[in-house]
Symmetry: C3
């Protein structure tokens, strides 16, 4: 039995505040293996929120660093053979060291090489998976959990997050990962329990890397997290709330980025707690 | 017989408006294979203007994606052996599928490896070529169409667009590509007919990637274009006009980028048509 | 005998002004081989200050370009085997041509592969080395000049620049390079003489690439420099002063970048000289 959309509870601000406070104390070191397009924005996002990013990519180095780091992000956006080998080495080392790792299945379902690569990674037990509606449906489909195709338009989703909610819950149950399917409303689920994160702004779909950077922030929140469902949901919430704040002083996608990073830098647990009452 | 500079007509606003309206309806999916420096800015430029960028780079994936995409950009700015193989696979697949592709010959004429690579690509019939004066002269020279060398200073041009106009017209006639040679005034030619685009601002030469991003926008306008000359010229014009607008609220190259992307996002066909009367 | 911290003289504004004036006249062509994260910001930084950046990375091209360029930057932030081969070819060609090159030892001391790679590069006589406290200590340790470890947290320093000052002086004396160890105060030394650069703002540690871009600016100032110690120190000073100016119109790390680049673009020797009197 899965929850239906209208019964999904909204993530409480008190949880967001607690999780953010934990991250700010931990200042987690995040090992980022992401695509060529978003590395700078991802690093600035992690720095702004209070984490410490490091992009280490060589097969000679990733095992050593995945052990040192507090969390690992794997994003297949511009994956190629050599980088995929390094990612698999990093995942194995992270698992051996107990370092949680996040899978961002960019454009999975569109291209067979990365779809197969991501399907194989699911067996390596990611702590979390963050994707748009099309990507989550494609992953669930690759595990024969659903028969919806709904491949994206390149890296963009053609399916709403709501239409992928059941697939997200099934994917979480089948893999043991927390699954975050993001869109107008984000849903974060462990298969049994699900949170809704209804904030954010549509302009974020016109700024490259907001989803990819969110996946890195998910990794940062997962570092030493006592409750992984809450950690992943808080990551989605903080990014969405910062996005809403940034739009208050933006005229479009270009002027969005700078105040978005500033908003991540100043967002404060005490302020978030004041929203709860 | 080629036109002399003073007889080149300015691209009418009505054409820019029509082409932009077509792009906004099409929301073309652009397969971007570009250099390591400008990927983020290129993606944000395409998103701002209303296209859908996807950077797919693996030799295992590019053929599949070049078939799905509406247009392909090949930019040799940071080309190396493995990426060049992938580019050639992508070009072959694009040609087989009828997907138009654009060549941006960054620093061709400066370095022999990329000059030979770009020369070879000309035989694969790009739909368009977009370069600065030095690059267009170097390509024409590589085909023995002219004997001017004028190699750039690294990636920057040492030759004006006007000095490369004849070479651009000869290159277009010899290759069948629309050639855009950009500079203080951009010239866009099919060898027989040529448009001038006199807008823009010199500060854009101090912002990395404005030329590279323009080449991606050229690809976006070429998707399903009934008139390729007008499509390429409109791409140059929209970028130049957005650049002028951005300078109205910028203090220098740093503060240029954000309002430039905003300007691309809001520029509207109706407004452009009002300039024509 | 090395200087103690309290006796290190502050770099005079007259030297900064002279060096900046020289750079603006030279407009040096800088061959940049840097990490995947900071390429765009590095290029924009060099363009803003008045240099001409070119990222050339293929083993087939780097020797040719290192000969054409006025200076070369080697940054090992995201080094991997193929890129390391290309870097070594570029360094050899730069040395053969008399082109000065700069080593930025990102995260050296944290990971053994890059530590060994950077240690080997020291024998190839860089003109300058720019790193944070942890990185400079790690390099000195790799040459058995000191026995402090103090490995960084990923790419971030855990050691102050002051604590690495003696190691910087020893590293300079042992390698013949100008060594810049940067932090709250930057120290620039040739082993015998040392300058202090006390400006800048802590927010720069929350913006990815400020250190990496500084290393590129160091390369730009080193081009044809009659006094390499002054050239490297002036590079650190110009970046720090621009950082202070940017903070006057910034709210956080996001809004820092644009005015920082603008400040680099407008900073003027005449103005700097007026500070000296």
């Amino acid at each position: 039995m899965t929850q239906t959309t209208h019964t999904i509870p909204e993530l409480p601000f008190s949880i967001i505040a607690d999780e953010l406070e934990r991250l700010r104390v931990n200042t987690p070191l995040v090992h980022v293996m992401t695509n060529e397009v978003v590395q700078c924005f991802t690093a600035n996002t992690l720095l702004a929120i209070g984490a410490s990013p490091a992009m280490v990519v060589a097969r000679e180095e990733v095992a050593e660093f995945a052990t040192i780091a507090d969390a690992l992000l794997i994003n297949v956006g511009t994956v190629y053979a050599e980088r995929l080998v390094a990612m698999q080495i990093a995942i194995d080392a992270a698992n051996a060291a107990g370092t949680p790792w996040v899978l961002d299945p960019v454009a999975v379902g569109v291209l067979s090489y990365r779809t197969e690569a991501a399907r194989a990674m699911l067996a390596q037990r990611p702590a979390a998976i963050r994707g748009n509606g099309s990507e989550i449906l494609a992953l669930a489909n690759a595990l024969n959990l659903c028969d919806v195709t709904g491949a994206g338009k390149g890296v963009d989703s053609t399916m709403s997050s709501t239409s992928a909610l059941t697939a997200a819950q099934q994917l979480a149950a089948a893999t043991g990962a927390i699954v975050a399917v993001t869109g107008a409303t984000d849903y974060i689920t462990d298969g049994a329990q699900t949170w809704a994160v209804p904030w954010g702004h549509a302009i974020m779909t016109r700024v490259v890397g907001t989803g990819c950077a969110l996946s890195a922030v998910v990794a940062a929140f997962l570092a030493d997290a006592p409750n992984r469902l809450n950690a992943v949901a808080a990551a989605c919430a903080v990014m969405a709330i910062a996005g809403e704040r940034a739009m208050e002083c933006s005229d479009g996608p270009g002027t969005f980025v700078a105040p978005f990073l500033d908003a991540l830098h100043v967002i404060h647990p005490t302020q978030l707690r004041s929203y709860s009452v």
